[in-house]
Amino acid sequence: MAEFPGELHYLESHEWARVEEDGSVTVGISDHAQDELGDVVFVELPEIDSEVIAKQEAGVVESVKAASDIYAPVSGTVIAINDKLEEEPEIVNDSPYDDGWFFKISPTDLDELKSLLSAAEYKESCEDDAH
């Protein structure tokens, strides 16, 4: 069964967002998403210092099955990307919530997180998709 950590915020499009102690927001895709995609073979990340806009495309994840856009959960500036995914995209499958993170944002307005889904709401939305 897929995991849905309670401390994260989610988009219906399967990204998660975690607020770090320094106020930055880390972004990745959910366990449910990696399971649906199958083996991830390629990840395209935004450039450091680029601006991303909430709920707009910020990257791409390609798996054996499909290509999917990655949406930014909040607006802001990209301050870090996970270089490891370049050589080892399978980390996304092995560790979607930890080592498989995609990028970090310095957010413009953390209040944007309020429009995201809680773990329970996101889990429900995944279950709805399955029916």
Partner: protein
């Protein structure tokens, strides 16, 4: 809920992710498609392909019937058990299906695709009218494909002596009956291996013994990337009723001479005017994944589209087959709004674990 093969419970027990495939609930993978792909290239894997359609052909007119039905020449089969790969064409010379047919003591044994089953059977029945030909579908048989460099060694460990002797006697593209098993040295991976048709209970038993011997269960996902690397067409993707075998990299399987098979006249006309399109291989040397239906450009001109595309685990880059109207020039593919250069090549891409593709030589 779709149709289930006789190995369905074993797939579930092995943690398969099941998907609908032409009305059948089939395993797409058992955890990691890429690991399964590598297992077949480096060791051995077992596939349940029982959804495919087996037809026995018997009767005094069987040979002349298949001479009419198939674009490849059935009279090439002189030795018991030998097989040919062929297209079955309609009157306009387009591909109804691709298939394999073996010469067997009772006549012929044919395997056609699952998704085309009803259409094929109806067509084959129609073409047999007025001839002494009997068609009998063998829905009772399961089919296991055991493929990979260790396939023979591991099958030999789990079957009895007489079956081992059959296995060891087979030439490439040859199959033989032993009791109620038909064992063939064929496959759809570009790797050495066997395909075995056998009753359901025996298939369950063989599957379990193979898995216990270290043969990895392989889903349809890896089957697709293996066959693509192997340069083998997939009906419905790389060819269908809108294209000819000449436009599908299958010219080598069409034997014209003075033969008069269904579609032969259309093929002769096509040769005289030159095929409008051709099926080529593509290799992407930068990151990204080529996928079916992406547009293919030569210079600025749209010249065709990808028919099958995937990430190749063996080559660690994306490969594809594409149907194009020209093979001369600089080619690129549009991937989600981004145009990337691709290399035109002759499939196969991989054989027996090794990269083998060659740059396309324009005529």
């Amino acid at each position: 809920m779709g149709q289930q093969t006789q190995l369905y419970a074993l797939h579930n027990a092995a943690g398969a992710k099941l998907v609908d495939f032409a009305g059948w609930d089939m395993p797409v993978h058992y955890g990691s498609q890429i690991e399964e792909h590598h297992a077949v290239r480096r060791h051995a894997g077992v596939f349940d392909v029982s959804h495919m359609t087996i037809v026995e052909i018997s009767g005094a007119d069987s040979s002349s019937y298949l001479d009419l039905l198939l674009a490849n020449d059935i009279n090439r089969l002189q030795e018991q058990g030998k097989a040919i790969y062929s297209a079955m064409l309609n009157e306009t010379g387009h591909v109804l299906d691709d298939l394999i047919v073996y010469l067997v003591p009772s006549g012929y044994l044919m395997v056609v695709n699952c998704a085309t089953r009803e259409k094929d059977l109806a067509w084959m029945q129609r073409c047999s009218e007025g001839l002494d030909v009997k068609l009998a579908e063998r829905q009772d048989l399961a089919i296991l494909a055991v493929q990979g460099p260790k396939a023979r060694q591991l099958i030999d460990q789990v079957v009895d002596d007489p079956r081992r002797q059959v296995i060891d006697s087979l030439k490439v593209f040859q199959g033989k009956w032993y009791e109620d098993w038909f064992i063939a040295r064929t496959g759809y991976t570009g790797e050495r291996g066997f395909e075995i048709m056998l009753p359901g209970a025996a298939a369950q038993n063989l599957w379990q013994k193979l898995v216990a011997a270290g043969v990895k269960p392989i889903g349809l996902g890896a089957r697709d990337t293996l066959r693509l690397e192997g340069g083998m067409n997939l009906y419905g993707n790389d060819m269908d009723e809108t294209v000819s075998p000449l436009e599908s990299n299958m010219a080598g399987t069409v034997v014209l001479g003075d033969r008069n098979f269904v579609g032969a006249q259309a093929i002769r006309e096509e040769i005289s005017r030159g095929p409008a399109k051709l099926l080529v291989g593509l290799v992407l040397h930068e990151k990204g994944v080529l996928r079916a239906h992406y547009p293919v450009y030569c210079g600025d001109q749209l010249v065709g589209e990808i028919t099958s595309g995937a990430y190749s685990p063996t080559l660690n880059r994306s490969i594809a087959m594409a149907r194009v109207s020209t093979a001369k020039g600089d080619f690129s593919v549009e991937i989600r709004g981004r145009t990337v250069p691709v290399e035109l090549v002759h499939p196969p891409f991989v054989r027996n674990g090794k990269q083998v593709y060659k740059a396309w030589q324009a005529d």
